[in-house]
Subunit: 357 residues, 5 copies
C-alpha cells in the first residue's frame, strides 16, 4: 500500500471533471444490471449504459453493479440517466477518497474502503455507492467480486433482500464491504501472534522489518477504515427516510462491526508497539550477553598473559639473587601453572558470585 493513494487533478481544474479516467477502454470494467421485485429477478452480466436506460422505465428495483475502472464516457451517461451530481462522479473516478456519505437532493452518495487480502498482501480499493428511490449503483475496483454472495441471495430469494426496498440492498452491500475487514484483521492478528513468539524467542533482523510492515499496514488501514464508522452512523441517524426504520436496526449491527474493527485495529497497533519494545530489548539483551561472555574470557586471559610475559623477560645479572630466581627453581614452571589455574578459579568464582556468569 502506498502512503499517498489519492488521485487528484492539478489545482485549478474545473470541479467535476473526469479527465483522469479518460483513456479507460470499455474492457476494463463490467456492468451487471439486475432488475428485481419480490417475485422476479433478471440479471444481465454484461450490460451497457444503454441497457440501464431501458431498465429505468421498468417498474422494478434496479441494481447497477459496476466492477473495474469505469470509463469517463459510460460514467457521464449513467450520471445523466440517474441524475448523479458531477462532484460525486468525480469522486468515483478519483479513487483513493476518504469514506464519506453525501446527501444530494435525489440520491445518497457513499464512498467506502474495501480491504482485500490477495497473495498475503493487504490492498484497499474504493467502493462508491449511489442510492436512489428505486435504484442502487455500486462501483468497485476490487480484484475479486465482493458482491457475488449478495447477487446469489437475491437470485435464490434467500432472506428478505428481495422483498424489501433498495435501502435494504444498500445495507446488504455495506455489510459485505465492512465484513471484508474481519478476515483481513484475523490474518493480521495471526501474524502479530507469530511475531510475538519470534520477538521473545529468537529475534532476527527480519523481525524488525515485519514489525515495521505490519505497523505500516495497520496505519494505512486505520486511515482508510476509520471514517466508515461515521458514514454508517450518519446513515443510522438519517432523518430524511432514505433508510427505512427496520433497515436501520440492521445498519446498527453494521455500526457495531465498524466499532469492533477500529477496536481491533487499535489493539493490534498497541500490540505491535509492545512487540517492538520486546524485540529491541531482547536484541540488546542478547548482544549484551555475547559481549559479556566474550569480555569475561578476555579478562580471564589478560592477567595470565601478563604473567607469562613476566617469565619471558630476560633479566640476567649473573651474580644477582634478585634476577628472576623463580626461573631457576626446581618446581618453578609447574608452580606457575598451579598459580595460574588457581587464579582462573578465583576469577571464575568471583564472577559467578557477582552473577556475571
Amino acid at each position: 500500500m502506498r502512503i499517498f493513494t489519492k488521485r487528484y487533478h492539478p489545482p485549478g481544474t474545473l470541479p467535476g471533471s473526469l479527465s483522469v479516467a479518460d483513456d479507460i477502454s470499455e474492457d476494463e470494467f463490467t456492468i451487471r444490471l439486475i432488475d428485481y421485485t419480490a417475485d422476479s429477478y433478471v440479471e444481465n452480466d454484461s450490460a451497457s449504459a444503454a441497457d440501464c436506460r431501458a431498465s429505468l422505465s421498468r417498474d422494478t428495483r434496479t441494481w447497477v453493479d459496476i466492477q473495474g475502472t469505469v470509463s469517463a464516457g459510460t460514467l457521464t451517461q449513467l450520471g445523466e440517466m440517474f441524475g448523479l451530481h458531477s462532484l460525486a462522479m468525480e469522486d468515483v473516478v478519483s479513487t483513493g477518497q476518504r469514506p464519506k456519505m453525501e446527501m444530494h437532493s435525489d440520491h445518497l452518495f457513499i464512498i467506502m474502503s474495501l480491504p482485500e487480502l490477495t497473495d498475503d498482501e493487504i490492498g484497499v480499493s474504493q467502493a462508491s455507492l449511489f442510492l436512489g428511490k428505486d435504484f442502487l449503483i455500486t462501483f468497485n475496483d476490487a480484484r475479486s467480486d465482493p458482491f457475488k454472495p449478495l447477487r446469489q441471495r437475491l437470485h435464490r430469494a434467500i432472506g428478505r433482500t428481495r422483498s424489501r426496498n433498495v435501502d435494504y440492498l444498500l445495507y446488504a452491500a455495506l455489510d459485505i464491504i465492512i465484513d471484508q475487514c474481519f478476515p483481513v484483521l484475523e490474518g493480521v492478528g495471526e501474524r502479530i501472534e507469530a511475531l510475538e513468539g519470534e520477538a521473545l524467542a529468537h529475534p532476527r533482523p527480519d523481525t524488525l522489518q515485519e514489525i515495521h510492515s505490519i505497523k505500516r499496514e495497520l496505519l494505512l488501514l486505520r486511515r482508510m477504515l476509520w471514517p466508515q464508522r461515521e458514514v454508517i452512523n450518519a446513515l443510522v441517524r438519517d432523518e430524511d427516510n432514505w433508510i427505512a426504520q427496520e433497515t436501520k436496526i440492521y445498519l446498527r449491527d453494521c455500526y457495531d462491526h465498524t466499532v469492533q474493527i477500529m477496536d481491533l485495529i487499535e489493539t493490534c497497533r498497541e500490540m505491535v508497539a509492545g512487540i517492538l519494545d520486546i524485540y529491541l530489548s531482547n536484541i540488546s539483551y542478547r548482544m549484551n550477553d555475547i559481549m559479556r561472555v566474550l569480555t569475561i574470557i578476555a579478562t580471564i586471559f589478560i592477567p595470565l598473559t601478563f604473567l607469562v610475559g613476566v617469565y619471558g623477560m630476560n633479566f640476567s645479572h649473573p651474580q644477582s639473587p634478585w634476577a628472576m630466581p623463580e626461573l631457576h627453581w626446581y618446581f618453578g614452571y609447574p608452580l606457575l601453572w598451579l598459580f595460574m589455574i588457581v587464579l582462573v578459579g578465583v576469577m571464575l568464582w568471583i564472577f559467578r558470585r557477582r552473577k556475571w556468569l
Copy 2:
C-alpha cells in the same frame, strides 16, 4: 487470550444466521429454569426448551439461565417463544462480541464480557442477557457458574431480589458480571507490585516476558471491558421504563464500578509502562557495570603486559651500553615489580577519583 476473538461469518452470509453453532450437542449446555414470585420459587436445573414454553403461560417471573455453548436448535426455539430478534440471537452464538445494549421493541438485549481467573490465567467469556416484561434470559459460557450466589439469594429470599421485578434481577446479574473484574484486577495489581520489586532489585530476562504478558492481558481486558461502561450508562439513562427508577439507583452503583475498573486498568497500564522503563534502564545499568569493571581490569593489565614485553626483547649489541642495560642491573627485576605495583596503584587511584570504580 487471543487478539482476534470474534467469531464471524464469511462476508455475504445472510444476516441472522446461526450456522456457527450448528454442531453443538445438547450436552454442552445446561438450561436452568427459575419461576419465582415474591412468595414462591421453583427451580428446574436441567430444563429443556419445551419446559420454558410451559413457564411462559404461568403468571410468574421467569429466569432462563443457560450455561455453556447453546445449540442452534434450542436457541431458535427460545427465540420464537420469547420473540427474540434474529440479529441478537446471531450475536449470542457469534461469541467474542463487543459489550453493547440494544433496545428492541419487546425486549432489551445486552452483551457483557465476563472475566474469569482460572489457574492463574485470565480468560474472558461472553454473557448475553435478554430482558422482557416478565422474563430474563441469560447466556454465558464461563467455566464456573457466576450466577450461583444470585440463585441462592433468590431461593432463600434474601434482600429484595424476589419482591422486585425482573429489572432488579437484571441489575443483580450485571452487578455480579461487573464485580468479577475486581478479583481479577486485584490479582493483576499484585503481580505488578511483585514485578516492580523484581525489576528494581534483580531484573531477569523472564521479567521482560512477564511485563509483556501483563501488558497484553491489560490491553485485551481493556478492549473487552471498556464498552461496558457505556452499556450501564445507557441503562441508567433509559427512558423507556425497562428499568424502574429505584433499580436505576442500584445501576448507578454498577456504573461507578465500571468507571473504577477502567481507572484501575489505566493505572495498571501506566504502572507496567513505568516498570518496563525501570527494567530496561536497570538491565543496561547492570550490564554497563560489568563491562566497566572488566574493562578496567583489562586496562590495568595492558600497560603491565607492555612493560614485561619490553624486557622480553632480545636487544643484544655486545658493546653497546644502550642495549637494555636494565636487564643487567643488580635490582632490575624487583625494581620492575616495584614500578608495576606503583603503576597499578596510581591507575586505581585515578579511576577511583574519577568515580569509575
Copy 3:
C-alpha cells in the same frame, strides 16, 4: 500506596451489606457531635450513636464528625436515624472508593480523597460526607484530624460558618479536604527539583528508584484526585438547591483549586518524564565516557605491545643479515623507545584532533 486500594465484597454479595467492617471495636473511631446555631455552639467529643438521636429532635444545625474506622453497628444506627441509603453506607466502609457525588431523595452523598503527608510518605484516605437539610455527617480515617481548624472557627464564631446553613459547612469541609493537596504537591515539587539537579549533575542508581517512586505516587494521586473536579463541578451546577447561591461562589473557588491541582499533577508528571530522559542519557553519556577513555588507553598500548613482541622474537640465522639486525644495532633499544614515544604522540594527536579525547 498500593495500586489496588478498593475493598470489595465477593461478587454476588447482597448490595448494601456492611460485612467488611463487622469486627471493628468501638475504640477505633471517635464521634464528635456538634450542635450549633448562629448564637450557640455545643460540642460532644466522644458522643455515641444514641446522643446523635437526641440531637435530631433539637432545632439546631447538627454536624456529626466521625474519625476512624466506624463499626457496622454504629453505622447502621446512624443510617436509620438520618435515613441514609444502604448503598451509600456500604461505600463508607468499603474504603478506596473513587470520589463521587450522589443525590438521594433526602440527602447528598459525597466521597472525597484526602491526601496526607505522614513521615515523608504520601497516604490517601477516604472522606465520606452526607448533607441533609440541617445536618452534615463526615467520615474520615485520616491519621491527623483534618477538620480541627473548622471546628475551631465554628467554636470561636470566626467568619460566616456559624451564621450560614449546613451547605456552607459542607463547603468549608470540602475546602479543607481539597487544600490538603497543596502541601503534598509542594513537597512533590521540591523533590522533583532536587531530583532534576541530581539527574543532571551526578546521576546514581538511587536516582532511578526515586524517579520511579515519584512517578508512582503522582499516578496514584491523579487517579484519586481527578474525579474530585467533577464532584465539585456537579455541586456548583446543582439545581436542586442543596447548595445556596452564595455558597456556590465559594464552591467555584474550590473548583478552581481542583483544576489547579490537576494542572500541577500533570506538570509534575511531565517533569518527571523529562528527568527520566535526562537521567538515562546522562548515565549512558558517562558510561560511554569511561569506556571511551579506557578503550583509548588500550588502543594506545596495543601497537606498542606488538612492537616489543617483535623484538622478543628469536630469529637467529647466524649468517643472515636479515635476521633481526635491529637487535644488534648500537642504538637499537633507545631508537625503539623513541619510535614508540613518537607513535604514542601521533596517536594522541590524532585522537585529540578527532575530538575523541
Copy 4:
C-alpha cells in the same frame, strides 16, 4: 520554514496599525482588476488602487487579485473604498497568521495558508480573502501565481464560475489554495517511502537528518493547515447567506479535501516516527554486529597469545625435568600448533552453536 513566522507589533501598539509594511515600494506587488458578468470579462493586469474605485461604481462582479507584499498606502485606500475592517487589514500585512474566518457586518474576511513547492523546498505563504456582496479581494505573496488557472477559466467562460455570484469565485479560489497541498504532500509521501527503504537497507547519518527535516516540515505544515478545516466548515455552516446553498455543496467537497489533507499529514507523521525507530534499531543492530565480530576475533586470539607467551618463558633449571620439558620435545612445536588449531576450531564451533556467529 522558520518556527516563529508571525510578524507582530510590539505589545501596546495601537490595534489596526499597518506599520510593518510601511516601507514597501509599489513594485513589490501587482494588482489585477477583473470585472466580469455572465457575458463580459475585462482584466487589467497592472491596475492601481484608483482603478478599483472606478470598478466599484460599475454594475459588474469585481475581483481584485493582489500578488506580492502590498504597501500600507494602497491597502489603506482599498480598505476605505471597500469598507474593510482595520483589524483585518492589519492581519493582511502581519503575515504568518493562523488561518481563520471572520464575519464583519459587510464583508467576510478569510486567511488561508498557501503551501508551495519551490526547488524541492516547502514554503508556506499567506492568502487573505475579502468577500463582499459583489466583490472578492484576494491577497497572496506566493512566488508563483496560484490563481492563474482560475482567471483563465473565467476568461474562457469554462464551467459555471462566470454565471454564478462572487461566492462561487471565493469557492474556486479556496479550492485552488487547498488543492495546492496535494502535490506538496505527494512529494513528502515519496520522500518518506524513499527514506523507508534507506532506513531498512543502508541507514546513514544523512538519513537521520532527512528524517528530522521531514518531521519538522510536517509539524509546521500541520500547524499552518490544521485550522483551514475549521474555516471551511464555518463557511459551510454559515447562516448569513454569504454563501449560496448550491455553492455550499462545492465547499463541502473542499471540506472533505481539508480532512483528507490532515489525515495524510497525520499518517506521514506516524510513518516518519516509525522510520526513526527503524533507523535507530537498524543502526544499533549494525553497530552491534561489527562489535560482535571484532570481539569474537579478539576472543579467539587471546588464549592463543597466552599460549605462545607460555612458551616464550625462560624457565631453565638445568637439572629439573619440570623446567618446561615441552620446549625440548621432538614434536613440541608442531604439537602446539595442532593444539592451537584445535582450540580455534572448538571455539568457533561453540560460538556457532550459540548463534554468536
Copy 5:
C-alpha cells in the same frame, strides 16, 4: 521558574483572608490613578487608596493601575471602596493563580499570566484585573511596567481608547498582556533553531541541559498560558453586556492571538522532543563511531601480536627439524614482516568491503 508557584494558606484558613501579604510595606507598590473622559485625562502617579475614593465620586472613567506587591491594608480599603469580592481579593495576593474569569454581581474579575523576558530568563508574573461599570483596577507584579504604552495612548488620545468605555480599556490591557508572549516565544523559537543546528552538527553534554531547560520553560509556560484562551473566549461570549459588541470584535482578535500562542508552544514542544531524539541518536552514533575505529585498530594488532608471540617461543630441541625451523631460515624475519603486512592489508580490505570502515 519554579514548578510549584502558587502561594496558599494552610488548609482550614478562613476563605478570603489576605494574611500572606500582611508584612508588605507601602514602598513595594505604586498606585497610578487615572481619571479620563473623551476630552480630559488626569494621571496621579503615586496615588494612595484615599485618592481613589475621591475619584469614585467624580463623573469620569477611572483606571487604578497598581504595580508591585500590594499591602493587605491598601487592598482591603480598595475592596471596600469598589465593592470587590473577598475571594477575588485573596486571589490578588495569593499569586501563582491559574488564569480565570469570574463574574460577580457588580464587577468582573480576571486573572492573567504575564510572561516577561528579563536577562534572557523567562519569568511569569500575575496580572489581576477588576472591571466595574466605570472603573478598571489592574494589579501586576511584573519587573517592567507593561501598561506604559497604554497610558501613553490614553494621554495622547491616540486611537479610540479614550472615547470608548472602560471595557475597551480592559481589552487594551488584555491585548498588551497577551502580546507579551510573542517576543518571549520568538526568543524561544530562536534558541530552538540554534539547538537544532548544534544537536545535528556537534552535540555536547551542554546541549542536553539546554534541551531540558527549554522543555521545562515551555511546560511551565503552557500551564500558565493555556487557560487564558478560555478566559478571553468567556469574555467574547459574555451575555451580561460587560463587554460592548464593538469591543468583542477586538477581543476576538485577542482570542486568535491566544490560539496562535498555544499553537506556537505546542510546535516548540514537539520540535524540542524531536531535537532530543536527534541529540541522543547523534551522540550514540558518534560514540559508536569512536568505539568502532578503536576496536578495528585493536583487532588488526591482535593477530599480529599473536604471530610475534609465536616467534618469541623457546622451542629448542637440538636435533628436531620441527623445532621452529622458521627462526633459522635466511629470510625468516623479512618473510614474517611481509606476511604480517599482507595480513593487515587483507583485514583492511575485508573491513572496508563490509563497510566497517
